[in-house]
């Protein structure tokens, strides 16, 4: 989809996903050095599910986000379509 047509909603949803996925990056590094922190692990699994659900919502409206078959593609092949992250 050409970037001129990206609606405000796309940026809002992407920012929500960036927020959730940031929590996951932080928890991942924390758990790497605190593997027995059960509370952190529960948060990790909760946010992991939230991330997956929101990614599916975004992909259904704006196309695949993940490479190599970790996202479904509509016809025609949508993965290689712009915009790329630096073009947004």
């Amino acid at each position: 989809m050409p970037k001129e047509t990206l609606p405000e909603e796309f940026y809002r949803l992407m920012e929500d996903l960036q927020t959730i996925d940031f929590v996951l990056v932080e928890l991942t590094l924390y758990l790497d050095t605190h593997p027995e922190d059960l509370e952190a692990l529960k948060q990790f699994n909760t946010f992991s599910r939230r991330s997956r659900d929101l990614r599916q919502t975004i992909e259904a409206r704006y196309g695949p986000l993940l490479q190599f078959g970790h996202s479904y593609s509509e016809y025609p092949w949508a993965w290689a379509d712009p915009p790329w992250p630096w073009q947004m």
Partner: protein, 189 residues
Amino acid sequence: MWLYEKKLQYPVKVSTCNPKLAKFLIEQYGGADGELSAALRYLNQRYTIPDKVIGLLTDIGTEEFAHLEMIATMVYKLTKDATPEQLKEAGLGAHYANHDRALFYHDAAGTPWTATYIQAKGDPIADLYEDIAAEEKARATYQWIINMSDDPFLNDGLKFLREREVVHSQRFREAVEILKEEQGKKKYY
């Protein structure tokens, strides 16, 4: 293997075309303590570090590639609309002569990236201390660039990256403690 996601780790916005800032920022792209050095340093050290810290090096090394993409996005957005005259005024005339507006792995002074920026000693404590030092140097570099930048949108992204250096340094310090503890458990006959 690695998996690309069509999304920046943190949103990158810039206020205006500003090739002068791009020239400074390229330090964190292809400089000694930049994001390329960081990613390659950690992912290369993984193979010979004790199992207890392989996960951490893998995850921080991977995050560094997301930071490299953020820096590239900043440089791209700061320079894409610049005229050759503006690039020349910003001190990027020599860059333009060789690369046009293409990004290149060199530091703010134009020195190309070299593998001698990163160390791999095979000694876990030596390697982790190198990693802690690298994070602190990168944090300081982000601060120097923020001090010279008057772009609030750019600074928002730079402050995010500066804070990540702090967290990585903390995690590496914990890794050192984990290895020391392991060492204490070992039995010598």
